[in-house]
């Protein structure tokens, strides 16, 4: 029996007050309606202050200095690793490589894990709905080795064709890659089911969690995948932060990709020995201030509760979807039953870029274009879409403002 616990509703006004940027206006006094959260999220004051405090009070390099500041900086950086590892359900902080974001994480897997394993005829399996960061790194290493990238299809409603994906697994597949949540369609993919199928075929599975970690409770061990990449700036943290989680035995087999300071054990001119993971993959001085901020972002999100965030965003998705359907000629791209609060749409007779420019003049920030997903745009045979993406701090009134602006824009253009 499911027990539904009564939750106190979120105090959205109090939450919004913690995001200084949400109070600003644009284009001569129009209140900002920020609906581009899938692109990047705004930052609460605790994150901004954590970055500021690092430079004011604690700035030093990590791992080397024995002085007080050095130890504090190292403590902050490693503390952030612990906080992030726990947040995504990693078994140990040693399994979490801190990166500049998802793109660096997928490239690290491409060069360190995949490249040495690829031979002519091998396959990297991805899907049609991936972000370029989960396509292009695989293409680059495939081109060097004679391997190829293939993409599993999706259904017209934006759901992954799971049977087709599983049917494409086989001994020639050296890595399977899938996004947890689509940045264009909002589709939440059944990662645990895919991971189980991959395991049966002995194929490691990489999951792009960029759009999932900010919006859903994520437990990488429960998902059963082998790699999980995510980015900090979409989860209220600073830009230039993120991570790659991988199983300890996989990380242990991976050679270094970037060489330099921090990642070595001993260096001689004739050769060097390397640190254990995760330090092996973290050459050079990292974004210490950024990770101090990201740890604060995790505490902020946990303070609200990821389950409550997910539930709040589902309410917003339902409300905004119903309102957008009031716009004549509006077509929503991506209507999977299980989706996050991302709504891509087109309006008959009005081009996406024209809509976005006119919405912007009303203070409504949405993204227009291909959303770094050319293959998906080609699948739907559309040149570009508008995308409204919500976060827990958005309101029903902002969805109304989107609707009003859309009706005005449509009246002008169509």
């Amino acid at each position: 029996m499911n027990v539904v616990l009564a939750e106190t509703p979120l105090d959205i006004a109090a939450l919004r007050a913690q995001f200084p940027l949400l109070a600003r206006t644009v284009h001569g006094g129009k209140p900002l309606v920020y609906l581009d959260n899938a692109n990047t999220a705004q930052k609460p004051v605790c994150v901004i202050e954590a970055v500021d405090r690092f430079y004011r009070e604690r700035n030093a390099n990590v791992s080397r200095a024995v002085h007080a500041l050095g130890e504090e900086a190292t403590g902050l950086y490693e503390g952030a690793r612990d906080v992030l590892a726990r947040f995504i359900g990693a078994g140990s902080a040693r399994e979490l490589v801190l990166t500049s974001g998802t793109t660096m994480a997928t490239n690290l897997v491409a060069y360190s894990y995949l490249l040495p394993r690829l031979a002519p005829g091998d396959v990297v399996l991805t899907t049609v709905m991936e972000h370029h960061a989960n396509i292009v790194p695989w293409q680059i290493v495939c081109q060097r080795t004679g391997a190829r990238v293939v993409a599993a299809p999706i259904h017209a409603n934006g759901e992954l064709d799971v049977a087709a994906f599983i049917g494409m697994l086989g001994p020639q597949v050296k890595l399977a890659c899938v996004t947890h949540v689509s940045n264009v369609l909002g589709t939440i993919n059944p990662v645990a089911e895919l991971a189980a199928a991959c395991r049966k075929h002995g194929v490691p599975l990489l999951v792009d969690g960029s759009q999932a970690v900010p919006h859903l409770p994520v437990d990488v061990r429960a998902l059963g995948c082998d790699f999980y990449a995510f980015t900090g700036h979409k989860m209220c943290g600073p830009t230039g932060t993120g991570g790659l989680w991988a199983r300890r035995e996989i990380l242990a087999q991976m050679p270094p990709f970037f060489g330099g300071g921090e990642m070595i054990r001993e260096v001689r001119i004739e050769g060097s020995t390397f640190a254990d993971p995760p330090a092996r993959f973290e050459a050079g001085t990292p974004n210490i201030a950024g990770f101090a901020g990201l740890a604060e972002a995790v505490r902020f999100l946990e303070g609200i509760g990821m389950a409550r965030i997910a539930a709040r965003e589902q309410d917003l998705l339902r409300y905004a979807t119903a309102r957008l359907r009031e716009v004549p000629g509006l077509r929503i791209i991506g209507e999977a039953p299980h989706k996050a609060a991302v709504i891509s749409f087109m309006v008959e007779g009005a081009h996406a870029h024209d809509l976005a420019t006119l919405l912007d003049l009303e203070g409504v920030a949405v993204r227009s274009g291909h959303h770094c997903a050319h293959p998906l745009m080609r699948y739907y045979d559309v040149p570009a879409t508008c995308r409204a993406s919500f976060a827990f701090y958005n309101t029903e009134a902002e969805a109304d403002a989107l609707l009003d602006a859309l009706l005005k824009a449509r009246a002008l253009l169509a």
Binding site: E326, H353, E362, S368, G369, P383, K408, L412, L413
Partner: protein, 153 residues
């Protein structure tokens, strides 16, 4: 259905431009073009094909097909009146004047009156590439190039 509450700031979309975007002139196909080029801005997805008939080095006929935003279509439509009778050198001169207008450089209005409606685009630098695409594609066709884009230029 909710009615729009009040008129919106139409930004770069002057009434002339919207009229041309809704009912473009010169939209169609030349069956035997002397020059043809495709303009494609991959980042935003705008696509236009430009066809020219030439007589003694001058543009005698001009047609385009576009799958693009209102600014591209309006620019392609308004270009017609400026292009007919001009040679490549005159088109280069027109392009320089048009770029100046889009950059807000001031100066006297362009003699093909319609294009001056793009002056407001100076406030929207991210959208200038849209207005520039049709003319860039015409210039490509005139020099025998098959493709043009205004995202990297």
């Amino acid at each position: 259905m909710t009615a729009p509450a009040q008129a919106m700031d139409s930004g770069p979309y002057a009434a002339t431009l919207l009229a041309h975007a809704r009912a473009p002139r010169h939209q169609g196909t030349l069956l035997h073009p002397d020059a043809l080029a495709e303009g494609y801005n991959a980042l935003c997805g705008d696509r236009i094909t430009v066809m020219l008939a030439l007589r003694q080095g001058c543009i005698a006929e001009y047609a385009f097909r576009a799958e693009a935003c209102a600014l591209v279509v309006a620019a392609a439509s308004l270009l017609g009146e400026c292009l007919i009778g001009r040679d490549a050198e005159e088109v280069e001169h027109l392009a320089a004047r048009f770029d100046g207008l889009l950059a807000g450089a001031g100066g006297p209005p362009i003699e093909c009156g319609g294009l001056n409606a793009f002056a407001d685009l100076a406030r929207f630098p991210a959208r200038r590439k849209c207005a520039r695409l049709p003319l860039a594609t015409v210039r490509a066709a005139l020099r025998g190039a098959a493709h043009a884009n205004t995202e990297e230029a």
